[in-house]
């Protein structure tokens, strides 16, 4: 299984998406992240591990603590996956709209 596919499986889980959202604005320790969820601490750790393995999160040592933060580069890569496909449809529909607006006038 390739890495890219893993990434999409990673973001398919609602808890992991919530973790990414939480980390979008700040870096946090595993404990601080876990305190935001009702889920058991080991479960949150497992989610963090998966997100780190597929490079969506990065760990940073600060003194005795490990902070998690978002890997922006990887997040952009995911957005790009759908974007060309979306753009293509958007272009086509823009064309449809323009043609039909003219049609209305004539």
């Amino acid at each position: 299984m390739n890495l890219r596919r893993d990434v999409f499986q990673a973001i398919a889980d609602p808890t992991r998406r919530a973790i990414l959202l939480l980390l979008a604005s700040q870096s946090l320790t595993a404990g601080a992240i876990a305190s935001n969820f009702d889920t058991a601490r080991p479960t949150v750790s497992k989610h963090l591990q998966i997100l780190t393995e597929c490079e969506l999160l990065k760990q940073e040592q600060s003194g005795r603590e490990v902070f998690y933060h978002i890997n922006a580069k990887k997040m952009i890569e995911i957005a790009d996956f759908i974007e060309p496909f979306r753009e293509m449809w958007d272009e086509r529909f823009n064309k449809l709209e323009a043609i039909m607006k003219n049609y209305k006038k004539t």
Partner: protein, 154 residues
Amino acid sequence: MEKKTKINAEEGRQELTVIREFELPVDLLFKAYVESDIVEQWMGTKVLKLENKRHGGYQFETTDPKGNKHGFNGVIHEFVPNEKITRTFEMENSSFAVQLEFLEFESITEDTSKLNMHIIYRSVELRDQMIKMGFAPGINMAHNRLQDIVNKLK
């Protein structure tokens, strides 16, 4: 720039939806799917056949920049004017399996309307592959043009 077209493609599912709101009355939006000469203009394809009725069929043909011709066809299962089209879509001479498309047309106001296109693929893998390749139903791939757009975004 405002993103008018929304794609909803959840991971691990063999379907996706394309949603778009138009500054057009619903009957004009629907007309764009029904009249061959209009379809040809916005989809950039030649329409060989378009039978807008239950059990009718359609056949499109596009020519790529190298002059190669690509055929697309499908069968229409449901046809309700200004409301819905249910149809299959298949690329000829390709290993891609046929897909099922549910097109729903909805009036928002007198001058605006919405299209909801629900596409179901044979497998999750096929859906992901179609997204990656930038293929979409009934169209010329227009890769160069697409690439230009993508480049502008970066």
